[in-house]
């Protein structure tokens, strides 16, 4: 990571797409950074957080949500400090309100918004294409296609933002954010402007968007966009690659590199236009490329944002050629080299490359019916224990109002204890509305600490005000764990012992009018089950249970700094074990394993994996699981 801080222009380093964006921001001299962590863009925030010693001028924060993060970055920009804010694609829904005003007011110093998109939803609840937002926010979009461009375009984005007085979006899909490869560094600036270096100059006509002033700013935003649109050919962000024939291609982002590889596999030499800026588009430039063709393919992920724009502008330019895209490429899921190759082979009546044909045939024949492998909670995860207790306490006779975080894994086997999951705070939000119209069935809503602070407080207050009869379990693991352990408002200290200033969750709950608050240690399964049962028996209003235990991965790291004088391990006594499956199937802990054939099988705990959370010991109905503690010889010193 420290390599990202070196002023060594021309040096080749290994970098993830996200690292390249971090470096791009540094080369552009940013002074303010804000983010709410979200896969695939989380590592950008971690990158800046790790570089604060090297760049003391830089303010970098994990904000409470994307709306706040975007506002913060806008504030820094207005004060003349280059600012970056990053979010995952669905974070844009939360930041959208802020960003709909940003083109109206414009920027003072460059403002760049990084969107980590997730076609294929490999780590998200939706695969929405945020590029469509720009049709009404008027924010320009840059789309790098390689790790090198991820850095270079980030630097360019700041220049464009300042020159055209518009915040600029840089859209990077997960396959670029998490692409790791060579990156050539550029130069760092001699001077950084950041903390203490900004200055706000009053400018009411820009910043006060009210009545006719707002209309005037709307007009200005459109003019800025048209100014940029006219200049696009001179910006060298788009490239045309010559080829033969009258069939051509337009693509952007990682899909450009997939397309190039597909065409090479299909032995097709055709002209390609690579768009580095995908909104706005310059009609003359596109028409000059397409005018020489009879058939044009637009290669992009999701619902055809480029195709939509290109069809409209070529129609206006009277370039009436065949334009294809979403007729052959799926408007959902993620494109890759194989999908593009298969679709183009069919459309262009070409044979598939023999190696691909063979591989796909073998795959179809040989992988049919093999078991899927889905993610599960980590070994020792407190959420696993909490969800187990929720299932036991309710006997599945409750509506499970799911939400977003590590505990979303509750929706998968063995628990399957989620009835829905959509956006942040869909648990308490949808649950409290449903409560008003359904019968007596209990509702148990889930929320993690970070998700609760992100946007759950208004939902909870509403539930309290409307006297919604429900149980809300706050799974407080003290970290934004799923995205790599960024601090949450309840973080008390880092594994190394660095102190934070945690929000007093109980006091907060009390102050918004929650009268019933209980806490539970999830690893004490029996006690947790009875706490949940008590809350279910209590009628009327919102009852909150805080299931409080630190994320197992962070807790393991903590042990390195606070070594225990005891060596501990858990074991299953084979003579006592009744093979009831409670631990192996119902709790499903991956450290509990099965060995032996037929009826002679037995369960055991893999010592190298177990972290001694004790959940299995507490839940075992036959007390077959025990904890062994041995005082270490020298470790205590």
């Amino acid at each position: 990571m420290k390599e990202l801080a070196r002023n060594a222009p021309g040096k080749m380093i290994l970098a993830m797409g996200n690292d390249a964006i971090v470096r791009g921001g540094l080369e552009a001299g940013i002074g303010y950074f804000s983010t709410y962590p979200g896969t695939p863009a989380s590592e950008i925030g971690e990158g800046y957080a790790a570089l604060l010693d090297e760049f003391p001028h830089l303010h970098a924060e994990f904000s409470v949500n994307e709306h706040v993060a975007a506002h913060g970055a806008l504030g820094a920009s207005w004060a003349g400090v280059r600012a970056m804010t990053t979010m995952k694609h669905v974070g844009m829904n939360v930041a959208a309100e802020v960003l709909h005003f940003a083109a109206y007011t414009g920027v003072k110093a460059g403002l760049v918004v990084i969107i980590g998109s997730d076609p294929g939803a490999t780590s998200s609840t939706s695969e929405q294409d945020d590029r469509w937002y720009s049709l009404h926010t008027h924010l320009p979009i840059l789309e790098p296609s390689t790790i090198q461009e991820a850095k270079d375009f980030t630097v360019r984005a700041f220049e464009i933002s300042e020159r055209y007085n518009l915040p600029v979006i840089l859209n990077a899909p997960s396959k670029l954010c998490h692409n790791i490869g060579s990156l050539i560094l550029g130069a760092l600036p001699k001077r950084f402007v950041g903390t203490g270096g900004g200055r706000f100059d009053r400018n009411p006509s820009r910043y006060i968007n009210l009545f006719a002033g707002s209309v005037a700013n709307h007009k200005k935003a459109m003019e800025h966009k048209e100014h940029l649109r006219a200049d696009i050919p001179s910006l060298s962000l788009n490239q045309v690659f010559k080829g033969s024939g009258s069939t051509g291609f337009i693509s952007s982002s990682v899909n450009f590199s997939y397309l190039k590889e597909s065409l090479s596999l299909l032995d097709i030499d055709a002209p390609i236009m690579k768009l580095g800026i995908t909104h706005p588009l310059n009609a003359d430039e596109i028409a000059a490329f397409a005018g020489k063709l009879t058939r044009l393919f637009v290669v992009e992920d999701l619902e055809g944002f480029l195709e939509f724009q290109i069809k409209a502008l070529l129609y206006e330019h009277n370039v009436l050629i065949s334009i294809e895209g979403k007729n052959i490429f799926p408007p959902y899921g993620e494109l890759d080299v194989d999908t593009i190759t298969i679709a183009l082979a069919k459309a262009l009546e070409k044979p598939l490359p023999p190696s691909m044909e063979r591989a796909l045939t073998l795959e179809k024949k040989l992988t049919a019916g093999i078991p899927p492998r889905q993610g599960s909670f980590c070994i020792g995860c407190p959420h696993r224990a909490t969800v187990y207790s929720i299932v036991k306490a309710t006997d599945r006779s409750a509506i499970f109002a799911g939400d977003i975080g590590c505990y979303t894994l509750s929706s998968l086997p063995p628990f399957r204890a989620f009835d829905w999951v959509t956006c942040m705070n869909c648990g308490v939000g949808i649950g409290q509305g449903m409560r008003q119209v359904i019968g007596d069935e209990p509702i148990v809503a889930y929320v993690g600490d970070s998700t609760f602070f992100h946007s759950g407080i208004p939902g909870l207050i509403n539930a309290v005000q409307q006297n919604a009869d429900m149980v809300l379990v706050i799974l407080d693991n003290k970290w934004v764990a799923m995205t790599g352990h960024q601090p949450s408002p309840t973080t008390e200290s880092s594994p190394r012992g660095e102190k934070f200033s945690p929000v007093d969750l109980k006091l907060l709950l009390k102050s918004v009018g929650v009268r019933y608050v209980r806490t539970a240690n999830p690893f004490n399964i029996k006690a947790t089950i009875s706490t949940i049962k008590d809350a279910l028996c209590e009628k009327g209003g919102v009852r909150v249970i805080i299931a409080e235990a630190e994320c197992a991965l962070q807790n393991e790291r903590r042990k390195k700094y606070e070594p225990s004088p005891y060596e501990r391990y858990h074991q299953i006594e084979p003579d006592i074990c009744q093979k009831c499956n409670e631990c192996y199937v119902q709790l499903g802990c991956p450290a509990i394993r099965k060995s032996g054939e037929g009826d002679a099988f037995y369960y055991y705990i893999e010592e190298a994996l177990c972290v001694n959370c004790g959940a299995c010991r507490d839940l075992c109905p036959n007390t077959a699981i025990s904890l062994v503690e041995i005082r270490r010889g020298k470790a205590a010193s």
Partner: protein, 203 residues
């Protein structure tokens, strides 16, 4: 030279770290490298893959000339940390792909709860051999436990096996220097790499 490696395994097994080591070694040798990772399953028990794609570095065009994803049938080598995961990724193999498999099945949740049964290892290996005859099977967990008393060196032993059994364009020196710089406990890792090389040669 171009050389494509697909690493597959389960979250927590070190597949991503192994990919990083193979990529850092390329940087040391001045070889271009690129490759996307699937981290969606990076929680325990989920599927993880890492693409490692080497290409000749061109100082005049610093953007990678190839994409981050290996096409179907395109892998020169597959390193599978688990047998079923090797079968799951069979689409990347061609008739001359070299495959290294850790002979340690890990039961997916769906098998635990009885929705699916785990195919026999003979069945899995027979299927993979339909794609390529160059399948090398080792109990890498056992090797790591025997020599290092933990599972921490499974991926560095795999690295040694890969180095000895494939035509990796990166040098041994670059791999060893990478391990030295990257890891706190580099002595064990370098030993493990050497054990992997030896094991492959003896096999």
């Amino acid at each position: 030279m171009r050389y494509d490696i697909l690493i597959c395994g389960i979250g927590g097994q070190g597949a991503i770290s192994l990919g990083t080591i193979l990529k850092l070694a390329a940087i040391r040798d001045g070889i271009g490298v690129v490759g996307a990772e699937r981290r969606g399953g990076a929680q325990r028990e989920g599927v993880v893959t890492s693409n490692v794609r080497y290409y000749p570095h061109n100082p005049n065009n610093t953007s990678a000339p190839i994409s981050g994803l290996i096409p179907a049938g395109g892998a020169d080598m597959m390193i599978a940390m688990e047998p079923l995961e090797a079968l799951r990724q069979i689409r990347y193999l061609n008739e001359s792909s070299v495959v290294i498999i850790n002979n340690r099945p890990l039961m997916p949740v769906h098998v635990r709860i009885g929705d699916f049964s785990y195919p026999s290892l003979d069945e899995i290996y027979a299927r993979i051999k339909e794609a390529t005859p160059l399948v090398h099977i080792f109990d890498i967990d056992e090797l790591s436990l025997a020599y290092f008393h933990s599972l921490r060196q499974v991926n560095t032993i795999s690295l040694g096996l890969a180095y000895a059994l494939g035509n990796l364009p990166v040098s041994k020196t670059a791999i060893i220097d990478t391990l030295t710089e990257l890891l706190k406990n580099s002595k064990d890792a370098i030993d493990a790499f050497a054990r992997g090389c030896e094991t492959a040669k003896c096999s």
